[in-house]
């Protein structure tokens, strides 16, 4: 009973790229979940700072506009919907890879990256509109907190897009096989986390009315 399964190359290949660990669970995945837990602290800090400063206008008659005055909710709603749907395409990419359908995996990975890019494009458009309205990064405490929070989130989405494109290229080169589902799953975890953070930001920053 205690012999055949150890280090048998055949059974090893069936396990994605897992190796036996003392806990019996994947170290890489545990590291990613721990990282995501720590990211809660980063975004918690940024969101709390925005909540404290959201109504703080700058001194002088020209510095009275704050982000909440010029939010374009219908536009941001569409962006939020796009990011939400990118979570679906991400999970479908993983599902396709598990089935060994490489063409579908590539299509879903590319779709996810494209939806992420649309979201980033929307954010750039929103930021440009704010600056055109005279609400820049250093304009007042409210705008500084807003740009820092949403900018950090945008950087996270951009890094996610880079990871997705790396997976796409790896798949094109035949380096992404069903053995590598954990790699895609870990990138997926990061992507879904970015989506979850936006669910929070969209509600707390954009939708909850400011008195």
């Amino acid at each position: 009973m205690a012999t055949a399964t150890i280090d048998s190359p055949d059974t090893h290949d069936d396990h994605d790229e897992h190796h036996a660990t003392s806990t019996g669970i994947s170290n890489t995945k545990l590291a990613m979940w721990t990282f995501l837990g720590s990211e809660c602290l980063l975004f918690g800090g940024l969101i709390s700072t925005y909540l404290l400063y959201k109504t703080r206008r700058g001194p002088g008659p020209d510095n009275t506009a704050i982000p909440t005055d010029i939010f374009d909710i219908p536009f941001t709603s569409v962006s939020s919907f796009v990011l939400l749907m990118s979570s679906l395409t991400m999970v479908l990419a993983l599902s396709a890879l598990t089935r060994g359908d490489n063409a579908a995996t590539r299509a879903w990975l590319l779709s996810t990256a494209m939806l992420g890019s649309v979201f980033i494009g929307g954010q750039v458009y929103e930021f440009t509109g704010f600056i055109r309205e005279g609400v820049g990064f250093t304009h007042n405490p409210a705008s500084s907190a807003f740009f820092t929070l949403t900018g950090f989130h945008g950087v996270h989405v951009s890094l996610g897009i880079l990871m997705l494109m790396s997976l796409y290229v790896a798949s094109k080169q035949g380096k992404l096989t069903p053995k590598h589902t954990e790699t895609v799953e870990i990138v997926g975890l990061y992507w879904h986390f970015v989506d979850v953070v936006w669910i929070f930001i969209f509600t707390v920053i954009y939708l909850i009315p400011v008195d």
């Binding site: 150890i6 396990h15 036996a20 019996g24 837990g37 969101i47 939400l84 799953e185 997926g188």
Partner: protein, 114 residues
């Protein structure tokens, strides 16, 4: 020792064996629910569409409820916490609870709730 290694390996097998993911159709249904909830959230912005959203308390309660449900759906289904080893969820929840506690105290210190 060999037995121990094998047992660990078998647990490893079971761990990954239990990692059965749902079908694509289930994911699509979850995404449709998420889209519906997002639609309701956006409706709260248009007070004229649903008059009871003119009350800020109702709006905030509705938005917070929908946000938590959306968060839960993404974490449990799309991030597979529902199917994975519970330790992953515990690591994430630990960070989430710590962040919530720290920043609630932080906001209280600055009299945010007043």
């Amino acid at each position: 020792m060999t037995d121990t290694v094998t047992e660990t390996h078998l647990e490893h097998d079971e761990d990954h064996g239990a990692h059965e993911h749902p079908s694509d159709w289930v994911y699509i249904k979850i995404a449709l629910i998420l889209a519906l909830f997002t639609g309701i959230e956006v409706l709260t912005y248009f007070e004229s569409a649903l008059p009871f959203f003119e009350n800020n308390s109702v709006t905030i309660a509705t938005l917070m409820f929908l946000m938590v449900v959306k968060f839960y759906l993404v974490a449990t289904w799309f991030m597979h916490l529902r199917f994975d080893n519970p330790i992953f969820g515990r690591m994430f929840v630990a960070g989430l609870v710590l962040a919530t506690a720290v920043y609630c105290i932080f906001l209280s210190a600055f009299e945010f709730w007043a």
